[in-house]
Structures are given as C-alpha cells and as structure tokens.
C-alpha cells in the first residue's frame, strides 16, 4: 500500500489535517485533498500527504501534492464519465435509470439518470423506439452527457460500447447478445430487442 509505505519512511509525520500548509504553489500543484490559497497550498482533508512527481514531458515541472483520506469519497457523476445504471422506467420519449456505478466505482447515494430518445443510438436517432431499446431492470452502460435538469443526469448510449450490458428476458432467463439490436434468452431462445453494448 502506497500510503503505508510513505508513512514508514516519513516516520508518521505525514498525516495532515485541514488547513495545514503543504508548500508553495510555485513548487507544488494542489491535487486531490489539497487546494491553493493564493501562493500557499493547503490540505483540505485529514489524511496522508503524498507527492506525485510531474508527468515526464509535461510543460508544468511542478510536483502534485495529494492528501489521501481514510474515507473514500462517494463518486459523483461528472459530464463525460461512464456510468452503469439500472433502467427503472421506459416512456415513449425517454427512459429513467438509477445510476449505480461511476467509472467502475460503486456510488453510495442514489442518482437518477435520464436517457432521451435522441441519445439512445448514434444513427437514425429519429426512428428510435424506446420500448425496443430498453426494458425496466436492464443494466446499461452509458456516458453522462450533462448535469441535466434538477431531477436527473442526462445519459447517452450513442456509441458502440454503450448500451445494455446485462438483462433478463421475460421468461426470467439471462439475455445473451446476438447482434447490436438483439438479445436472446438462454432458456427459451426467444429474441428480444435491445440497444446492446459491444462489450470488449
């Protein structure tokens, strides 16, 4: 564990509390758990101080200082992040989904997402039938388009690798992808329509 290793050679003096001075902004960049206040870089959470050297070849030759706390922050969806969501409700022009994971991290709170008809696939976006794309209960991989309205994040599945990744058939069996629009039930062999994700 990196933090523990740091602690051993730092002799335990590497634990910092909010507000503590970490260095000067001329030599350091504030990373996670740190912030710059004018010239000074300070800690914003309690945890271990860690210094990351600058990426080779980057213009900025300053090291980044991070403070890693003991409590992992619940991930929050950001525009552009890939999320895993469970479809809760399908309507003619949109589908609602509950976001469960952000960038492979499970989230603690519930966030709701909204997939609009025009965001389901990249081509023929006017001919999308929502009921032929999603069913309630489907697990969908999607990308966050924007923070959306006050109620939900806008999600999009308009890419090959986005769409339904796991679903159950009407019979209760697991659906296996057949093509990018079809999935087959492993119990009955019945074909169901979905916007299927191309999983690598």
């Amino acid at each position: 564990m990196a933090a523990t290793a740091m602690d051993q050679d730092g002799g335990g003096g590497d634990v910092v509390t909010p507000g503590e001075l970490l260095g000067n902004s001329l030599t350091l960049v504030a990373g996670r758990g740190a912030y710059a206040d004018g010239r000074s870089v300070r800690a914003s959470v309690t945890g271990h101080r860690r210094i990351v050297p600058p990426a080779p070849g980057s213009d900025d030759q300053r090291s980044t200082v991070e403070v890693v706390g003991h409590k992992a922050h619940g991930a929050v969806p950001q525009p552009g992040s890939v999320v895993i969501a469970r479809v809760t409700k399908v309507m003619p022009r949109m589908a609602n989904a509950d976001i469960m994971c952000v960038d492979s991290k499970a989230i603690k709170e519930k966030f709701t997402g909204l997939i609009r008809q025009q965001d389901v696939r990249a081509t023929e976006i006017d001919k999308v039938d929502m009921y032929q794309s999603y069913r309630p209960g489907d697990i969908v991989r999607a990308v966050v388009l924007s923070l959306g309205d006050a109620r939900a994040y806008y999600l999009s599945t308009a890419k090959n690798e986005l769409g339904v990744v796991s679903a159950q058939s009407i019979a209760g069996g697991t659906l296996v992808p057949v093509s990018w629009t079809e999935m087959q039930c492993d119990l009955t062999g019945q074909i169901e329509q979905r916007k299927v994700a191309k999983v690598e």
């Binding site: 909010p18 507000g19 309690t46 003991h70 923070l147």
Partner: protein, 242 residues
C-alpha cells in the same frame, strides 16, 4: 457576586481567568452517519453528526447548483439544562444558533467541489453549561473532518467574557448569565481568519480587543487539540487496517 476572587484571582469554578475548561473530543460516535463527533468543554457536551455530500433532497432549497448546500440543525436535549430550566423562548434561539453554525461551517467547506449535493450537520446538546455555540462549532468541525469533507481549514470557536474588570476565557453557565459581555469568536486556525464574531452587551473598544484576543488564543488552543484528535484517529484507523 464575585466572579473573580480578589485575593487569589481564581474564578468561581477554580479556573484562572485565561484558563479553558477541560476539552475532550471523540470521533466516530454515530455509526450510521458519514462523520460524527462528541465534543466536551467542561460540563458542556455536544454530539454532532454529518451526512453527505449526498444528493439534494428538497430541490427547492437548492440556491446555487454549482455549490453544495449546507444545512444545519441545532437542538438542545430536554434534559441538558437540568433544573435551570430556560425561559420558554420558543424556537428562536435554536434557529439562530443553527444559522450561525451553518454560516460558520459554510465559510470553511469547499462547497464548489461538490456541486448539486447537500451536506447535513446535526448538532445535539447533551449537557449545557455555557458556550454551547462554541462547542457545537468545534463538534461540527470534527465531524466534518471525520466525514472527509474538504475544508479550507479547521474552524474552531471559543468564547470570552469580561467580568469584575477581568477578561475571562471560556465562560461557563454561571459566568454567562452574569450579564457581562460575552464574545464568541470563530476562526480558521491556520489562516488566521475570523469567520464568526458575536457579542452581547457592550464593551469599551480597548477592552473588547483584549477580550477578543483572549478568545482567539482559546480558539487556537482548541484547534491544536482538534488536530491531535484527528491525527490520533487516523493513526488508530491505520493500525486497524494493518
């Protein structure tokens, strides 16, 4: 009544004028909450619980979607005052203190890092013996730090008063109700910035400066203590992790 003994210079509870009550801080006392703390200043004992950052529950309260919404609820337990039952002032006092704590904590939390989310701070007074406002702010700071919420700095608060021509640090209930001035100060400890300053009654300008200076010294001592508690807790967690 003599609040400072003219011979020995001791106060009614045996403290020196610039002496604080015994501090005690404990982190992680509410298992359900994201962060929690118990804070004692002498006989004043408060518990704070922090929930969040979580999604905004009541969208109507959201003023600025680019910043986290901070909410605070201050309550006093029925049994906290014992026989010295306070006059029924309605809920005015609690509302005011809730607001004060909220504003003070908001000044320190990096709200812009958590857009569209809310942070709930609940503080409950278990035992009241003067200085509940300060104790609540200190407890809330500890709880926020325990929850891992990014903050500019640790906010600490302490009160000071002026009785018998002596500036007194950290008033207890008896001294608080003596009718003298009561100055409550909240500071960002490392940055030397004042985020809260309240005073009831009047004071001469130069006395006020002395009293405020004393309160700031108290705040700094509390900040040192709070940092110790946090470091202790982090080390303990690390030992558990192995």
């Amino acid at each position: 009544m003599e609040y400072v003994d003219p011979l020995t210079g001791f106060r009614v509870d045996g403290r020196r004028p610039n002496e604080m009550r015994k501090l005690k801080g404990e982190v992680g006392v509410v298992a359900r909450a994201d962060g929690s703390a118990l804070f004692e200043m002498g006989n004043t004992r408060v518990i704070a619980a922090v929930y969040g950052p979580r999604e905004v529950q009541n969208k109507g309260q959201q003023v600025n979607s680019k910043e986290a919404l901070v909410r605070c609820e201050y309550r006093m337990a029925e049994f906290s005052t014992g026989d010295r039952r306070r006059k029924p002032k309605g809920d005015r006092r609690s509302t005011e203190i809730s607001l004060v704590i909220r504003q003070t904590m908001e000044a320190s939390i990096l709200t812009h890092l958590m857009p569209r989310s809310q942070i709930d701070i609940f503080v409950q007074v278990l035992q009241a013996d003067g200085g509940t406002r300060s104790a609540c702010i200190n407890a809330a700071t500890l709880a926020l730090a325990d929850a891992g919420i990014p903050m500019r700095d640790i906010v600490t608060s302490c009160s000071a008063g002026y009785l018998c021509s002596t500036p007194l640090l950290d008033l207890n209930y008896l001294e608080d109700s003596a009718g003298g001035a009561d100055v409550t100060v909240g500071i960002l400890a490392k940055m030397d910035k004042v985020t809260l300053l309240q005073m009831d009654a009047k004071l001469a300008m130069d006395t006020f400066e002395n009293v405020m200076g004393l309160a700031i010294e108290g705040c700094k001592a509390i900040a040192t203590y709070i940092r110790e508690v946090l470091l202790e807790n982090t080390k303990r967690l690390e030992c558990q992790r192995g």
